[in-house]
């Protein structure tokens, strides 16, 4: 059964059509990569899925629920978490605080004026587990704004994971990273996919990461769905090659 079904969504900003009649279906436990040249509409597509703005036409079904017109925080509550192309964190709070806020919200404590001892301990355990999963153990007391770029990104992913999502949306998780950082984030994503069986949709520019991690690849070009298939099929696809080569030429 599909966790995410996007049916014929279109998004136009005035006369510009950023996404045109795109449909995809992501299976449970799948890792789907969305690729495409700059301006292909990848981030707009992500914003539609996560509810940043509503589509002009089409519908979005998440786990059997029509979420097309649902506000972002309602989609989060249904189990959809995302990270952003430009890391969105709470810079003047510590790494542990960042993750803790997320864990408290996920536990349904956001309006609570206090926590019982057992509840607080549960949150703390969750924070510790997530920090070590994201490779941030020992950095919990550092202000997240002072961390290296790769660690900030890992912290953002840990915050998203604290929401216990059934679908994780990652917008260019390795953007702006060096070799080592890219490798570490790719390993983290791989762990989440292989070990935690998490359903993940990611936008990514680094083709090594994409072809290494993805079960299936969706290619967008100029707002349209250009191709979809396994990494091997996409690598052999002529339309995809010309879209990328055409851009490079």
């Amino acid at each position: 059964m599909s966790v995410l079904e996007v049916k014929n969504v279109t998004k136009s900003f005035g006369s510009l059509v950023a996404v045109r009649e795109v449909s995809i279906a992501v299976e449970r436990g799948e890792l789907r990569a969305v690729i495409g040249p700059n301006g292909a509409g990848k981030t707009t597509f992500f914003n539609l899925i996560s509810g940043f703005f509503p589509p002009t036409a089409g519908s979005i079904i998440f786990d059997g629920t029509d979420v097309t017109s649902l506000a972002p925080h309602r989609r989060v509550r249904l189990g959809m978490a995302r990270t952003f192309q430009i890391t969105e964190i709470f810079p003047e709070l510590t790494v542990a605080e960042n993750v803790r806020i997320s864990a408290e919200v996920a536990a349904g404590y956001r309006l609570r004026p206090w926590l019982g001892r057992a509840e607080a301990a549960r949150v703390q355990g969750r924070v510790d587990a997530l920090l070590s999963l994201a490779g941030l153990a020992g950095k919990g007391d550092r202000l997240v704004g002072e961390l290296a770029h790769g660690d900030q990104r890992a912290a953002e992913i840990a915050m998203a994971l604290a929401l216990e999502p059934r679908l994780l949306l990652l917008d260019e998780p390795t953007a702006g990273m060096g070799e080592q950082e890219t490798y570490e984030i790719a390993q983290l994503i791989r762990r989440l996919h292989r070990d935690s069986k998490l359903t993940i949709v990611l936008i990514e520019h680094d083709m090594r990461v994409v072809f290494h991690l993805a079960d299936r690849i969706t290619v967008l070009d100029q707002g349209r769905l250009l191709a979809e298939g396994t990494p091997d099929a996409i690598a052999a696809n002529e339309a995809v090659q010309s879209a990328y080569l055409g851009k490079a030429a």
């Binding site: 996560s50 506000a71 972002p72 925080h73 309602r74 989060v76 509550r77 978490a81 995302r82 952003f84 969105e88 964190i89 709470f90 810079p91 003047e92 709070l93 510590t94 542990a96 605080e97 803790r100 806020i101 997320s102 408290e104 919200v105 996920a106 404590y109 956001r110 309006l111 609570r112 004026p113 206090w114 926590l115 001892r117 607080a120 301990a121 703390q124 919990g140 007391d141 202000l143 915050m159 929401l163």
Partner: protein, 338 residues
């Protein structure tokens, strides 16, 4: 500290030693203030406006939202308390409670209309609504006393069952009553800020978009913070009415709102206690300079000034602090220590 405690870095409120110093200074104020030219009623005023600035800062410093009309809720607390004493019942705690209720209810109603605005628009709408209350207090002569202010009420002795405390005639007793209310309010604010709810406010301050995509309904949480802040500043207003046995329509004016914002920023809006320091400096300077400003402005600038010139010196200090010490006066003290 337990596992619940956030490992806060720059906030002095969580350092036990600094905390002890603050409370000792406040507890002993009636005894040391006279030695540096102060007096008990001045200490009470500092507590009242310190509470007002800290309440505003619950929104400004910890939710990241600037209200420029908070004097309205201060004033509603003052008028609510005064009117309750004058027309309802001769009970100080009941009158304060009604004042707080009036401020909180008004904050809840207007807050609902304001919370969708952001930044400058939020500030402008809060000013506009604040001025509405100012004009009501200014014009509704039959009830509020109009521009003469509300007179004809007095703070009443506190009946504790086993004893009665005269807070009318005894300025020191009244100081401790205000300190008691202040401590209660401040402890409650600190408690809230360290709770999961308080954490969501920090999240909104830090990054609204991230907070939204963590599943926090931003508008609801800002509204709640607004109501909490209005309730506490209404308490400050009620205490001010008790202090003066008088409520002044100017207390609702947006210039008063501006002064409270100045106190918070002057002291340091990113720290819990900063606004209290800002209020202490502001109120002390006002008290000292309005007496001596005329002499100074004549001596230094050859201005034949009048007593309002104390604002000039406050303004000068404010500009220096904002330009050179963005974390406020408390930020300077903290940097000095580390």
């Amino acid at each position: 500290m337990t596992a619940v405690t956030l490992p806060e870095t720059p906030r002095i409120g969580y350092r036990p030693l600094a905390l002890a110093v603050i409370w000792l200074l406040l507890l002993a104020a009636p005894y040391w203030m006279p030695f540096i030219g102060g007096y008990t009623a001045l200490g009470t005023r500092i507590l009242v406006f310190g509470l007002a600035a800290m309440s505003l800062n619950f929104l400004l410093g910890f939710t990241g939202v600037l209200s420029f009309g908070h004097a309205a809720y201060f004033g509603l607390g003052a008028y609510g308390t005064g009117l309750a004493l004058k027309f309802l019942a001769p009970s100080t705690p009941l009158a304060l409670l009604l004042g707080v209720l009036l401020g909180a209810v008004a904050g809840a109603l207007l807050g609902a209309l304001i919370v969708r605005r952001r930044g400058v628009y939020f500030a402008m709408v809060t000013i506009a609504f604040g001025q509405v209350f100012y004009f009501i207090a200014f014009r509704w002569h039959d009830v509020t006393g109009g521009d003469d202010g509300l007179r004809g009420f007095q703070r009443q002795p506190l009946h504790l069952g086993f004893t009665t405390i005269d807070i009318l005639g005894n300025a020191t007793a009244f100081y401790y009553f205000v300190l008691f209310c202040f401590a209660l309010a401040v402890a409650l604010m600190a408690f809230l800020l360290r709770s999961p709810f308080g954490h969501t406010l920090l999240a909104i301050r830090e990054n609204e978009r991230r907070a939204r995509f963590l599943g926090i309904p931003i508008e609801l949480h800002i509204w709640l913070a607004f109501v909490v802040s209005c309730a506490f500043i209404a308490l400050a207003g009620g205490l001010d009415a008790l202090l003066n046995n008088f409520a002044n329509p100017r207390e609702l004016h947006y210039s008063q709102s501006g002064e409270i914002v100045i106190m918070a920023v002057l002291g340091g809006m990113r720290s819990f206690w900063g606004p209290l320091l800002g209020a202490a400096v502001f109120i002390s300077l006002e008290d000292y300079l309005s007496a001596s400003a005329e002499r100074w402005s004549v001596q230094i600038f050859n201005w034949p000034g009048h007593t309002l010139d104390w604002m000039f010196w406050i303004g000068l200090l404010f500009v220096i602090v904002v330009l050179l010490f963005p974390r406020g006066l408390l930020g300077v003290l903290q940097r000095g220590k580390t």
